[in-house]
């Protein structure tokens, strides 16, 4: 882990493109990130035993958050927010409670990692889910050209090994896309423009991390 892995919570807005002066097209994902107030910090030297910053994102009506969380926000004198997340840091965090993290923590051309929950794909076969090649399309194959083939041996071991890749639910898991480049930062609108695609649907929660 690198020194500081601070980041921002945001919502994926969607994608568009940007033209450079020479006509090169840059595909960008727009993320509405922050502002994220720092709720409190955790210190390795304190009773938390590790360094981290707790941040909140997206203010909501008090009714939306759970009672214990509501009082947690009241304790820290913040309006209720929908999300509370931690960012672990190597050393004691520089941010303190009351600070507000904004998109300005990122600069143009900075390399970041973006985490999101990717779109659910439902129950999928082994070819789409695990990239199996399937069976031949001809030479006697009948009605099973997308099947996995053999899933194990016979009398010994007389079972299928745990973890055998088979058909099943695909997607809707947390994915991090690493090494994306920040193309633009728009402070007033709290927008980040990041080159390339980012996991999840438009409107989904994403975490943008420094590297």
């Amino acid at each position: 882990m690198t020194a500081s892995r601070m980041g921002l919570l945001g919502r994926k807005v969607g994608m568009t493109r940007i033209f450079l002066e020479d006509g090169t097209v840059v595909p960008v994902t727009v993320i509405k990130a922050g502002p994220c107030p720092v709720v409190r910090t955790k210190l390795a030297s304190g009773k938390d035993r590790y360094n981290a910053v707790v941040v909140a994102f997206e203010p909501v009506r008090p009714k939306v958050v759970r009672r214990p969380e509501l009082s947690y926000f009241q304790q820290h004198q913040l309006p209720p927010h929908r999300y509370l997340r931690e960012f672990r840091t190597q050393d004691a965090p520089e941010a303190t409670a009351g600070d507000v993290l904004k998109v300005t923590m990122f600069g143009a051309n900075e390399i970041v990692d973006v985490t999101g929950k990717r779109k659910g794909r439902g129950f999928q076969g082994v070819m789409k889910r695990h990239g199996f090649h399937g069976l031949p399309g001809s030479h006697g194959t009948k009605l099973k050209d997308r099947h996995p083939g053999s899933i194990g041996a016979c009398a010994y071991p007389a079972r299928v090994f745990p973890g055998k890749r088979m058909a099943g639910r695909m997607g809707a898991d947390v994915v991090t896309t690493r090494g994306l480049r920040v193309v633009g930062v728009k402070e007033e609108e709290n927008l980040l423009l990041i080159r390339g695609a980012v996991p999840g649907p438009s409107g989904g929660l994403v975490i943008v991390r420094k590297r």
Binding site: V13, G14, M15, T16, R17, I18, F19, L20, E21, D22, G23, V25, V30, K32, E189, L191, S202, G203
Partner: protein, 119 residues
């Protein structure tokens, strides 16, 4: 709401220097070509057979017959390499995508001129 943000972003950089044009129009497009460290402008003249996309992703396709061979080029409307566009002639067409022109040649591939739109 999300799409509105994207539209706003795109509108901020949108160009307003190109005239309004439609499928079927004969246009002359000035394209910047960069090669061997030099920059020059090339003309591409033909009929617009397709306009697709929205906002920054909007593109149009121009078809012409060059030395007896059909040539099509697709340009992003917002590309800075498209330096100018001139509508030479407006034609009467009854659909938005003129793919049928690809199957026609010579006299059959002509379009009828229409009265100029007022805009």
């Amino acid at each position: 709401m999300n799409q509105e943000i994207i539209t706003q972003l795109d509108n901020a950089t949108k160009r307003h220097d190109l005239p309004v044009f439609h499928p079927g129009d004969r246009v002359r497009v000035s394209v910047t070509i960069r090669e061997a460290g030099k920059e020059r402008t090339q003309m591409f003249e033909g009929d617009v057979i397709r306009i697709r996309g929205s906002n920054a992703g909007r593109t149009f396709t121009v078809r012409k017959i060059s030395n007896g061979v059909g040539v099509e080029r697709t340009f992003p409307v917002e590309s800075p390499n498209v330096t100018a566009l001139e509508v030479i002639r407006e034609n009467k067409v009854r659909r938005a995508k003129l793919y049928f022109l690809r199957d026609l040649r010579g006299k059959a591939a002509r379009l009828k001129e229409r009265d100029r739109r007022s805009h």
